[in-house]
């Protein structure tokens, strides 16, 4: 028995270790495909004009909630009726994991022909610009329909137009009206973080189950390290010169404010929202109407509105700070539509892109599922037909009154974002003081910036 057991033991252990190794290997095996995959495909097979158009099947990937999936699929179907030789397969799901999947597909040479991307990935996508069609060079696309400032600020990366804006995203608070009425809070309050703390504290004291404001860790990182710093000090904390531009004192101040937001009971405890990162609308208290407001993009409004109820929903300006030196609002295209340069049907994909973004019929199907369309023609079609959601319109209008310039690319670096989130958590949970947090963040980020700078040279 002894021998037999040992032999079985040994065999099983080897097998498990081998499986484990395969698990690690998946990480790398994709890479090896890239070497062979990318070189074996070229554009020589792109559709050529013939008498009878060749059957074309393309893939189109996007993320979003159900309303966006339905509208996009409907638009694809409408396009197929117009162009019976073109079949487009949708690859859609949530935001979680989308970027990771896309990066792996790009490395493996198997990315979809049409790709929805987030402008915050521009830095990572820009270094592999050979994977994307420069849309400014494609005559089949009417690029004049897009605002030049948006193209230059958010689409032009490393010399190419990587993608075109599908929507214009406004930014601001999204409010549960009956909550505000219950606590006698005026709907048109211009919120500052100081005011949220003051009013939120009272709300929470009155009913310990209720919170004025909700934020998840990802949002907190963006709002405090981008919006707050800009409003308070009129600058960004890091810049594309790979330097830190915030002092320890300034950082300590904003960390203290952030901590107070939670300690005062104004915001839902961070531990509770951890399970609902990027999906705050699923947080039970939000659904029950025990949360007053959330600050997010207009492109994501539909999901909050559905939970709060259209009649009970209102929008407001973005949150700033008291005595702000900069009152502009964060602004970006909701997302970009890019064409994969290694697609077998680049011409067809470009044609579809033009139809999807600029065509009247497409616009009327898609409406504001990606916020207000980025294309003037599409926007015009929606205005004429009076189908734009008034809240989305209002939020975009509020934003466009004073839009902030694009943030430095380095601020979207995922490693820096992770370091920041880590420190923010420690501060909010009271593990370290705001002062120590500031010290730690500056030390570790300046190290990371140096490493990134060395790599980029």
């Amino acid at each position: 028995m002894k021998k037999l057991t040992r032999i079985i033991c040994f065999i099983c252990i080897v097998a498990v270790l081998a499986v484990f190794a395969a698990g690690c290997g998946q990480v790398t095996s994709k890479g090896s495909d890239s070497a062979s995959g990318t070189s074996s495909q070229d554009n020589s097979t792109a559709a050529k004009p013939t008498d009878k158009p060749k059957q074309v099947t393309m893939r189109f990937s996007w993320w979003g909630a159900d309303n966006r999936h339905e509208a996009t699929l409907e638009a694809i179907e409408a396009y197929r009726k117009l162009n019976p030789h073109v079949t487009i397969e949708g690859e859609y799901g949530g935001y979680d994991g989308y970027q990771q999947k896309l990066m792996t597909q790009l490395a493996g040479g198997s990315a979809p022909d049409l790709i929805q991307t987030d402008p915050i990935w521009n830095q990572q996508l820009g270094v592999q610009k050979e994977n994307f069609v420069d849309l400014s060079r494609e005559s089949a696309i009417d690029i004049s329909q897009f605002d030049e400032g948006v193209i230059n600020g958010f689409c032009l990366v490393n010399g190419i137009v990587l993608g075109l804006p599908m929507g214009i995203n406004g930014f601001g608070v999204q409010i549960n009206k009956s909550f505000m009425e219950r606590f006698n809070i005026p709907l048109d309050t211009r919120w500052t973080y100081e005011k949220i703390i003051e009013v939120g504290r009272k709300v929470h004291e009155e009913d310990s189950e209720c919170y004025l404001y909700i934020e998840d860790l990802t949002g907190l990182q963006v709002k405090f390290m981008c919006d707050y710093t800009r409003a308070k000090y009129g600058k960004y904390w890091i810049d594309d010169d790979y330097e830190i531009h915030i002092t320890k004192e300034e950082l300590t101040e904003q960390f203290s404010k952030m901590k107070e937001l939670f300690d005062s009971g104004a915001a839902v405890p961070l531990g509770e929202t951890a399970l609902y990162n990027n999906k705050l609308e699923q947080y039970p208290k939000f659904i029950n109407g025990q949360v007053g407001m959330v600050q997010d993009w207009s492109g994501l409004m539909a999901k909050y509105k559905e939970v709060i109820g259209a009649d009970n929903f209102a929008v407001g300006d973005s949150i700033i700070v008291e005595n702000a030196v900069d009152t502009s609002t964060t602004y970006k295209p909701s997302m970009l539509l890019s064409v994969y340069s290694k697609s077998k049907y680049v011409d067809e994909a470009v044609k579809f892109t033009n139809w999807f973004l600029n065509d009247r019929e497409a616009a009327l199907i898609l409406k504001d599922c990606r916020s207000i369309p980025g294309s003037k023609a599409a926007r015009q079609a929606l205005i004429e037909n009076n189908v734009l959601d008034k809240d989305v319109m209002q939020m975009v209008e509020n934003t466009l009154k004073n839009p902030a310039p694009p943030v430095p690319l380095i601020m979207n670096n995922s490693e820096i974002a992770e370091i920041t989130k880590d420190v923010i958590q420690k501060v909010v949970f009271g593990d370290i003081t705001p002062e120590d947090g500031a010290e730690e963040l500056i030390t570790s980020v300046s190290e990371k910036l140096e490493a990134i700078k060395a790599e980029s040279n």
Binding site: M1, K2, T5, I8, C9, C12, I13, V16, L17, A18, V19, F20, A21, A22, G23, C24, G25, Q26, V27, T28, S29, K30, G31, S32, S34, Q100, M103, T104, L106, A107, Q124, V127, Q128, L217, P269, L270, G271, E272, A274, L275, N277, P284, K285, S414, E415, E418, D422, Q425, K426, F429, D431, E447, E455
Partner: protein
């Protein structure tokens, strides 16, 4: 004549290889090749976009000298293993003992108890776990009806790892089946002899059952430990490593480096370090087993 026989032999060898070729191909392509290539990549700066450059031991040096999250995730993972594996084995053993009693429909019970193991690794169950243990989840609702104050099962950095390991414990099925097989193998005569000698039930358990099961315990311990070191789904789906990185298991760190930061070379190096850590722990257990495993034939 001889040549003919040789030819026949060779032919049969080829047929044998042909029969096992599906497995062989799978092994070569999906296991051996990634295994070797990840080792090679661990000495490069491979990031899926720019050209691959050999950087020597840079990744390993950086992991050990600069990466504080490496030590944190390793610590969290070791805690997790120390917590989840013993709990799981004790639980599996306990259930196996119960299911070893001759009762009606025992085979159905065995199947039912095995079910969580089939479901447990899935994302769906992890999502369910999240709802059960959320602050307003079912578990807290039940507890509050008994007057117990809400517990931050997943929101408190101190408890979250424990909650995650409960999910592992719940998937005790495979260890239970092996324990059950081990229990069935113990000769009845030993118990009969003990009864004649007037030994009590607990006495029989500690003097017969437990010693004779030690080889099985060793097997289960090693297997479960290896699996636990690689746990990923639960912490990824339920807590994303939080709160405050308290459930940031090593496999999550590996995933983040590879797929979030696109540092595939670095991630490969991390995976090889994990491989060595698991080897060390396995060797330790085997070494210690000399002192606590007993075999029927009296050998050690």
């Amino acid at each position: 004549m001889k040549g003919h026989r040789m030819g026949e032999r060779k032919r049969r060898q080829y047929i044998g290889l042909l029969y096992i070729s599906p497995w062989l191909l799978g092994f070569l392509i999906f296991q051996l090749y990634p295994f070797v290539s990840s080792f090679v990549y661990s000495f490069t700066n491979y990031n899926m976009t720019s050209n691959i450059k050999f950087v020597g031991l840079k990744n390993y040096i950086e992991i050990f000298t600069k990466d504080s999250q490496f030590y944190n995730s390793l610590k969290v993972t070791i805690f997790y293993v120390l917590m989840a594996v013993p709990m799981k084995l004790v639980f599996a053993f306990f259930i196996a003992m119960i299911l070893n009693i001759r009762i009606k429909y025992v085979n159905y019970y065995r199947t039912i108890y095995y079910l969580p193991s089939i479901l447990g690794g899935s994302v769906a169950v992890s999502v369910l776990w999240r709802f059960l243990f959320a602050d307003n989840g079912l578990i807290n609702e039940i507890l509050s009806s008994f007057g117990v104050h809400k517990i931050g099962w997943l929101s408190s950095p101190k408890i979250a790892l424990f909650t995650i390991s409960l999910l592992t414990v719940w998937q005790f099925g495979s260890s239970m089946v092996i324990f059950l097989a081990g229990l069935k193998q113990i000769p009845k005569e030993l118990y009969e002899a003990a009864t004649v000698d007037g030994i009590s039930k607990p006495g029989m358990f500690f003097r017969i059952t437990l010693p004779l099961l030690t080889p099985i315990i060793l097997f289960n311990l090693v297997m479960q430990m290896i699996i636990a070191f690689q746990e990923f789904t639960a912490s990824f789906v339920i807590t994303s490593g939080g709160p405050m990185k308290s459930t940031y298991l090593y496999a999550m760190k590996l995933y983040d480096e590879g797929f979030l930061f696109m540092k595939m070379g670095y991630a490969s190096a991390l995976s090889w370090i994990l491989f060595i850590v698991i080897m060390i722990f396995t060797a330790l257990i085997f070494k210690s087993s000399e002192y606590w495993t007993y075999y029927e034939d009296g050998g050690k």
